[in-house]
């Protein structure tokens, strides 16, 4: 675990770069996190729909959504999700939303 500076605040992140405490996240951190992890900025409305959905899911269910759940329930379809967050919509949106890596399926 390391400490890093985001939007002028010092926060703890794990080895993969996920925020350790989702409560430390602020909206201002999102675009810095996006730049750090290769997501094009400025973040668009589409990005924000997904980011907000992921945070809601996390606080309600204890984990962010998988790509398939995002595609069905976030309001952004799977194809667009991959345009917004290339390579890994669930992982990258969780990263930018300041929540832990979604518990995938086994």
């Amino acid at each position: 675990m390391t400490t890093t500076e985001l939007a002028g605040k010092s926060v703890e992140v794990n080895e993969e770069g996920f925020l350790v405490d989702p409560d430390e996240w602020t909206e201002e951190m999102a675009s810095e996190l996006a730049e750090l992890h290769g997501v094009a900025t400025p973040l668009t409305d589409g990005h924000w729909v997904v980011i907000k959905y992921m945070r809601k899911e996390y606080f309600e269910n204890g984990t962010g959504a998988t790509v398939r759940k995002l595609g069905k329930a976030s309001g952004v379809n799977t194809k667009e999700l991959f345009q917004l967050f290339p390579k890994g919509p669930a992982k990258l949106s969780a990263m930018i939303a300041g929540i832990p890596k979604p518990k995938g399926c086994i």
Partner: protein, 418 residues
């Protein structure tokens, strides 16, 4: 105990074994048990893997569902229209309505080929197959017979899928099959996965990846298939990259049973049943439980999981029916034989917290874990008999309990949870 009614939706592995165990425990005066399924064919699903290679015959892996249920269990053959969780009713498409005190959802998962663009195109079952259902596995057997050169791509689109190791086993068996027929040098095999490695759990992933390399099977990772061009014979990912093939074996997306979507409050977006990981009680209502592939719990969708869940579930349903506290806890225990070809197999054993470790199962003198051996292969092939005669009827297996055993396992130096 006052008379109560239990309705079990689905007569597959989980539904059947739970019904039989409950029947043994309660008299018909105490508990009426109704089981519903849409057809009367119980498929031994682990057998599907062997059908494409002529190692299992379709007729030998199907039996009547009704014959697997003990006397005193009412069997209804009908599709399910919906469940009304507010009034405790199940509506069947044949017009009947079943009223329950306790409901168990055991309707498993279904394949959703229609959710992948192009998959239902003209090349489906011609150059693109799945072995995840019996018609597909049977058609593929014929196609493999005549496949003597070219590129075979094996692609799982996304998790969750039933038996997540089966696509890898298919790759290993294909390597053996083509070698045996003297055509392996003319066939390229590629395993295409959305994961960042061969498998989800680190120690097992490393072992399986090594086996792929040994067998000359190419691995393409982080490939998120968005479209299959069955005529142009291409897998196309969401980021536009492509894998061309001559023959593709795919594992379509999975979802819960259709009626779950018609039953407000019962399931999630994918049609699976959110429930407590430990008690298997649904989050929808206290008198609804889920087992097996239908349950949204973070372990594999596999028969062994349904088996281990069943033992715990019966005790919890017992407690619930008596108004007592449920004390049994499911730990996520899964146990899978992985066929690696040449009459050998690996065995993996894990749970929610512990990834598959090397060692022996179920104790220090037992089957080798995470290591190829003939005895594991024999175990896998002999399992079918135990399935019909031991597991489904609800008999306990000496030495193998619901909870994951730890005594024969070697902890890895590098710690870290899966």
């Amino acid at each position: 105990m006052k008379h109560q009614t239990m309705v079990i939706l689905g007569a597959g592995t989980g539904g059947t074994l739970t019904a039989n165990r409950l029947r043994k425990r309660f008299s018909t005066a105490e508990l009426q048990i109704d089981v519903v399924d849409q057809n009367n064919q119980h498929l031994y699903q682990p057998g599907l893997l062997f059908v494409p290679f002529g190692l299992a015959k379709p007729d030998n892996i199907v039996r009547k569902r009704s014959s697997q249920l003990h006397k005193g269990i009412n069997y209804h053959e009908s599709e399910i229209e919906s469940v009304d969780i507010e009034t405790n009713r199940v509506h069947l498409t044949n017009g009947a309505t079943l009223v329950y005190d306790v409901l168990l959802v055991a309707t498993g998962t279904k394949l959703l080929p229609e959710e992948t663009e192009g998959l239902d195109g003209p090349g489906w079952n011609k150059d693109v197959f799945t072995f995840y259902d019996l018609p597909g596995a049977t058609a593929l057997a014929e196609r493999l017979e005549s496949f003597r050169s070219g590129h075979l791509a094996i692609n799982l689109f996304d998790l969750p899928i039933k038996c997540p190791v089966a696509p890898l086993e298919f790759a290993f068996l294909a390597d053996w099959y083509f070698t045996d027929r003297g055509v392996r040098d003319d066939i390229r095999i590629t395993y295409v996965t959305p994961l960042d490695g061969a498998f989800t759990k680190p120690a097992a992933s490393a072992t399986l990846q090594h086996l792929l390399e040994q067998k000359g099977i190419n691995l393409v990772t982080e490939f998120n298939t968005g479209e299959v061009d069955t005529e142009g014979r291409k897998l196309i990912s969401y980021d536009g990259s492509e894998v061309e093939f001559d023959l593709a074996v795919v594992i379509p997306l999975h979802g819960g049973a259709d009626y779950v979507h018609n039953s407000p409050g019962l399931g999630d977006e994918l049609g699976f049943i959110p429930c407590d990981n430990a008690t298997l009680q649904s989050k929808a209502k206290p008198n609804i439980f889920a087992i097996g592939d239908a349950a949204d719990v973070p372990t594999s969708k596999a028969g062994s999981v349904a088996h281990f869940e069943g033992e715990i579930l019966v005790d919890n349903i017992d407690a619930f029916l008596r108004g007592q506290e449920m004390v049994e806890r499911f730990d996520g225990h899964a146990n899978c034989f992985i066929e690696t070809g040449y009459s050998k197999a690996l065995l993996i054993d894990f749970n929610y917290e512990t990834e598959p470790l090397p060692g022996r199962f179920p104790g220090p003198i037992g089957l080798p874990l995470l290591k190829e051996s003939r005895i594991n292969h024999l175990g896998k092939r002999m399992f079918q008999s135990f399935y019909w005669h031991g597991l489904l009827p609800g008999r306990d297996v000496p030495g193998i309990g619901a909870h994951m055993p730890e005594s024969g396992k070697r902890q890895l130096q590098t710690s870290g949870k899966p």
